[in-house]
């Protein structure tokens, strides 16, 4: 299998699917929801969790990681019909 697959989950809950980004590109595709594991990859980055007024250094980043494993396992169990 070498065909790339594209995730094209439709998300119309807030955008109505009708908006387009202001890039001047008429073929603009609506932004797609990001899977939780990919989102956490990006939103938690390299363990940097907090900015703004609150600085919490999580010495327990490892702990969070471990718990993420459990989180994602449980999310997956709910999402994957088996």
């Amino acid at each position: 299998m070498t065909e790339p697959t594209t995730s094209r989950t439709t998300d119309r809950d807030i955008t109505g699917g009708l908006v387009s980004r202001p890039s001047g590109n008429p073929a603009n595709e609506p932004l797609q929801p990001v899977a939780l594991v990919d989102l956490l990859d990006r939103l938690l980055g390299a363990g940097v969790v907090i900015s703004g007024d609150l600085v919490i250094s999580l010495a327990g980043v490892d702990l969070v990681q471990v718990r993420l494993h459990a989180l994602i396992a449980s999310v997956r169990a709910e999402m994957v019909p088996r």
Partner: protein
């Protein structure tokens, strides 16, 4: 109950009307805080929940983390559909509007650069997997020798198996390097994230590349073509393309101006 402001993203040229009617975390309404041409997209959150103590506790609550992350993504996508948007880290919380404004003034130049960098562009994810079973090199042929030579032959086979595994890992790594270089050269910027654990994602095979790419909205078709070409060049590899996403990996404020 004291409240703080949860900031989802920074944007410019956004109109408050675009976020009216959209709810953030705990269904709180969104609004914009504007400062020197920059806007933060915020909603009110309880500091019991999002203060230092609350966060410490809640970041370990998996259901909580999930719902906040998904709300963060929902809001960010909504704003990014309307204006250039630099997503902030999860749980960027301010104790009040004054301190948020002070931070916006401080972030101003970096934020402008980040918004310039991602304007009219989106993030695309390309993951590549190999199937270790299909890529298993043929085991040594022949009957295992008996008698005096057996022990030595056994060790010999073990050593060869280790060498084959190492060679295979090496070949996967260079395939991933090649894929990433080919894709990154066809877009604005590319970055490799750590491959994800199969236990988290449920994918089959071995993830050898977890790449993410900043692509011009006008260049999406050619990026797709280069993904297909790269996949065709490596028939043993399964390639997965996902997007467009808000530019989560390319809007850091602490990044140098060049990518």
């Amino acid at each position: 109950m004291s409240t703080g402001l949860y900031a989802y993203a920074l944007t410019r040229d956004a109109d408050e009307a675009e976020v009216v009617g959209v709810n953030g975390i705990s269904d709180a309404p969104l609004h914009l805080v504007d400062q020197d041409g920059l806007s933060a997209v915020v909603s009110e959150v309880s500091l019991d929940e999002f203060g230092e103590e609350g966060l410490r506790r809640n970041l370990e609550d998996l259901g909580w983390l999930e719902s906040v992350a998904l709300a963060h993504d929902r809001v960010t996508r909504h704003v990014a559909e309307h204006a250039p948007t630099a997503p902030l880290r999860l749980a960027t919380v301010f104790l009040g509007e004054d301190s948020l404004r002070a931070q916006l003034r401080q972030w101003h130049d970096q934020a402008e650069r980040a918004l310039d960098r991602i304007s009219g562009r989106s993030e695309w994810s390309v993951k590549a997997y190999v199937d270790p079973a299909a890529d298993d090199p043929a085991p040594t042929e022949g009957e295992p020798p008996k008698g005096a030579g057996a022990g030595r032959a056994y060790l010999e086979r073990r050593r060869e198996a280790t060498q084959r595994r190492e060679a295979r890992a090496q070949s996967w790594a260079s395939t991933a390097d090649e894929l990433h270089e080919a894709l990154a050269s066809g877009c604005v910027a590319g970055r490799r994230l750590a491959p994800q654990d199969r236990r988290l994602t449920g994918h089959t095979g071995e993830m050898v590349l977890n790449g993410t790419y900043l692509v011009d909205d006008a260049g999406v078709e050619s990026f797709r073509t280069s993904v297909e070409a790269a996949a065709a060049k490596h028939p043993k590899v399964r390639v997965e393309l996902a997007g467009p996403w808000p530019p989560y990996s390319f809007a850091s404020l602490d990044e140098p101006g060049t990518t």
